[in-house]
Amino acid sequence: MARIVVDVMPKPEILDPQGKAIVRAFPHQGITAFSGVRQGKRFELEVDGEVTEEVLATARHAAETMLSNPVIEDVVNVSVIDNSDSAEA
């Protein structure tokens, strides 16, 4: 079984209140190396058969129409993870 990974991030010009809260909480843990955080979403779409070009196109369609809202988010990655669980294709 293969998986297709879809990554969605808030658009750069949209304020990310959650990321802002995280970066402000870092110093409490002694973490001071990072000046900003933006929080996004990762989806894993499971495919029972082979990941054909058609399946990938469907994944891109799902990413653009349902998994993200183009007003506030960008789809930044649609890629395949193979069966071996380790390497990203």
Partner: protein, 266 residues
């Protein structure tokens, strides 16, 4: 509580005849999604305004011939994915989107989660993201009616202020600069927060309308300010007895009166 300070009945008498039989003939559908919370309040608001509420189920494909639709507040599908994102694909939503965009211009009001469903459906521009302070907020909120020309605001005057409850987590209205300029230029900001911006919304926007004025969305809850005894503790005029605020009723009378007095639907 000490001695009675007001005489208003605690519960409206819904069995009394409607003040206007024509109002009673206007049927307003209230859509329930899994996780909707405020459908009964919205239905009661319609009935108190003099109309007839009709419960609608999201998975049905039939609008049952209603004259207008309200998408009520709540947490449909637990706000999973994005608030309103999954509800937008409900079978009934396809019918509502078509009817709202048709020549009939079906009046549609989205409150809170309903507003989020309307933006996800692209019936209204922009989107709502997490409140800028990251906290759920629940308070009585003063609003200014900026556009009294819509189906849902016609009983107000432009610039009139109202006080209704606000209660949400994802209430920060955002859109790109071009859309914001367009909304302001075309007078499509329907409601604006007054005195205090509770969530970081751009230009203090609390509600917007589509170009034709039949589709309106707002984050605060007018349906919780329609019945003396169960509303906010203040109105636009100031402090009132506990729960006496009914400033939200105007949205519901607006749609009924608009539909009767030469609304676009015969």
């Amino acid at each position: 509580m000490s001695a009675n300070t007001f005489e208003a009945p605690l519960v409206a008498d819904l069995s009394s005849p409607a003040p206007d039989a024509a109002l009673k003939d206007v049927r307003v559908g209230i859509v329930t999604f899994p996780g909707t919370l405020d459908d009964r309040d919205a239905a009661r608001a319609v009935d108190i305004a003099g109309g007839t509420s009709v419960p609608l189920w999201h998975a049905d494909a039939d609008l049952q011939g209603v004259d207008a639709v309200i998408l009520p507040g709540g947490f449909s599908y637990g706000d999973y994915l994005r608030a309103g994102a999954i509800s937008r694909f409900a079978p009934l939503m396809s019918r509502i989107i078509d009817a709202a965009n048709s020549d009939d211009a079906l009046p549609v009001l989205g409150i809170c989660n309903g507003f989020q469903i309307l933006t996800e459906s692209h019936l209204l521009p922009g989107s709502m993201i997490r409140n800028n302070h990251l906290k759920f907020i629940c308070r009585d909120q003063r609003l200014r009616v900026e556009n009294a020309g819509t189906t849902w605001t016609a009983d107000f005057t432009s610039g009139q202020e109202i006080v209704v409850p606000l209660k949400n987590n994802d209430g920060q209205y955002v859109c790109d600069q071009t859309t914001l300029d367009m909304l302001e230029f075309e007078g499509r900001v329907a409601f604006r927060y007054v005195g205090h911006n509770p969530n970081g919304s751009l230009n203090d926007i609390a509600g917007v309308t589509n170009a034709r004025g039949n589709v309106v969305g707002l984050m605060p809850h007018p349906e919780h300010a329609v019945e003396a005894g169960f509303g906010p503790d203040s109105t636009a005029q100031g402090q009132v007895a506990m729960g006496e605020g009914t400033d939200g009723l105007g949205l519901f009378t607006s749609v009924l009166n608009t539909l009767i007095n030469g609304g676009s639907r015969a």
